[in-house]
Symmetry: C3
Subunit: 265 residues, 3 copies
């Protein structure tokens, strides 16, 4: 009956795809974290350090989240029926949302630093992002219908609202932020474009996996769904970070530019 009982009921079949995918995610994030820490060692310019700090914290947070899911802490069960199906208990890995709540703003912060964005733009991006994740969590946890809608109907409404915030986010990412980045030196602008495109494409895949997965319409099962998220998470966090930190000369230029931008901001 205690708080912790309520949030740690679920266990996975040992050796199944779900648990394997969670362990791959845990190890991958841990190694990514170590790599970004080692890449940043010896850097003494605060403006350059900032990229390594942010980029290392992203897989560090995801590591804790993945481990919590692998250990069952980050899982719960929610009772609902897929459209036209009987009601049953579904495993919901809520720790994903706790992870995304902090890692997605940090990824946007990396992009915003490269683009030389001001705090108004950063605030807007982070606000839309947090709204997207929180309403996504509501979609995931909803276990009852209302206003004449079935439980699944209400879940899909929250998913739709979350997608709405995501579209607004994409609008600023592809609009204001890209215009900011166009004023940066050529190499910085190119790295920004690469990372922005990677982010736009990968992030678009998340709501698709959600709606076809066990939280949405139940067209795929928990194993493949968890594997798909693990691949997306590793690409969007460790892959993103790898492309960023290997570009030392671009970070040098971006950091030099940031100095100038801040001074007249």
């Amino acid at each position: 009956m205690a708080l912790s009982t309520a949030i740690t009921l679920q266990q996975f079949e040992p050796g199944g795809t779900t648990q394997a995918a969670l362990l791959v995610g845990t190890v991958g994030m841990f190694l990514g974290m170590l790599y970004f820490i080692s890449a940043g060692r010896g850097e003494t310019d605060p403006r350059k350090q900032e990229y390594y700090i942010i980029t290392a914290f992203i897989p560090a947070i995801a590591f804790v989240s993945y481990l919590s899911m692998a250990l069952g802490f980050g899982a719960t069960t929610v009772e609902f029926a897929w459209l036209g199906q009987p009601t049953q208990e579904h495993t919901i890995l809520w720790a994903r949302y706790a992870d995304w709540l902090f890692t997605t703003p940090l990824l946007l912060l990396d992009l915003a630093l490269l683009a030389g964005a001001n705090r108004q733009t950063i605030g807007t991006l982070v606000g839309l992002d947090v709204a997207m994740i929180v309403t996504g969590l509501m979609a995931a946890l909803t276990n009852r219908g209302a206003l004449g809608l079935s439980t699944s109907g209400v879940r899909i409404i929250w998913w739709g609202i979350s997608c709405g915030f995501f579209l607004a986010l994409l609008y600023f990412l592809l609009g204001t932020l890209s215009r900011n980045a166009a004023r940066q030196p050529g190499e910085v602008g190119r790295l920004f474009s690469t990372l922005r495109n990677l982010t736009a494409v990968l992030w678009t895949a998340y709501p698709v996996v959600w709606i076809i997965g066990t939280e949405g319409l139940g067209l795929i099962t928990l194993g493949p769904e968890t594997a798909a998220y693990a691949v997306l998470d590793l690409l969007a966090k460790v892959g993103f970070g790898f492309l960023l930190v290997r570009s030392r000369s671009v970070i040098d230029q971006a950091a030099a530019g940031a100095g100038a931008v801040t001074a007249d901001d």
Copy 2:
């Protein structure tokens, strides 16, 4: 038994005052959000954009909160007895507090920007505000007595502590912040005074509704209480924002002043 079960049990009587008030709040906040977004479109000066961004996020957050209450996600039940009454289950709309936790600091930020306040003053205001909301949530969720006090007694103690933080907040709002605003150009100072007075009066009504409502002494029922909060929320968020964003020339002056303040800060 899962987390989501615990927080989404409650359903409202369809067509009742409670649900009607929640739907009015949902629609009102959505329209307010659209209006502030459209008012801010085309603005390119970051210092002016800031007002529109903050002011649009306030009803956006409240929209999500109201919708969650209307859909039952943001409601729970707590067992306690009003003073001298038998114990019974009470519907607690906890999503209000999640809304207020973010929207009240943003409203204070609008006021602080108008007043040209420094980060020390903003930090103090936001800290007191968060303490006020969190202890208010404790009041709302308390379901047992302690130290010889009844459950209702403990609830009223938390309400009293929350009021204490509110009084400290008012002290800074009417003191430091108003002194800051007095140094701003005349029109900015007048708009600040109007919005500050609106905020001080409306915010004072909240703990009054709380203590006479179902969470406190139970002198009024959930329907009128929900309607009262909806009116207060719409005035304190959409009404506040309307008075702010229609004053374009004042925002111009405030933004120009902010540049000067920041430069020598």
Copy 3:
């Protein structure tokens, strides 16, 4: 079954050591808060005010947390077995972690301001600190085994990860932050060293109490454990703050230095 039921089940034996320690903590934090507020009254320089504001908010937050534990709100029960013991219900005072989540970053902020640290260093310290507290909370709430480990084994893994983040934090506290502080005027550097040493020693005691206490191996009971935490909390928050705010001339120098640092940052 409601959210609040789940988190407020536990009651303490009236008059026992646990409740006495919680009441001492509550009163001590309240008095500390009043003292730091009175010490800061009349200060008009924002850079000096900042120390008093931060230092007063620390015991204010701890006061709310201690009161919530004394009133039973901040307590829950978790079922697990100490190594080699039968499974039983244990009282977990989760409100400690809510307290620490906000007070430990504020203590680090006081140290960082004295050291004249940049936002990259502050961000790193706060990030590691939050990771330390959150994984500590996971240790406290875990109620089941996984991957072939017993519940107690999983709890100790989370404790170990939390200790890992603490060691990384100590590395930055004793490394980067101390190098920053060495560039500050002599008296400021000495006050920083005193407070840093106090913090390093006291904070190290927390995981020790945890692992020998009821949340870890169960070598001591809840009464002495709660008393030990109360002493540590009062020293690390009120004692720390007392040493800081009584050094008015050092705060004057640190504030003057901060102006110079920010200007060329």
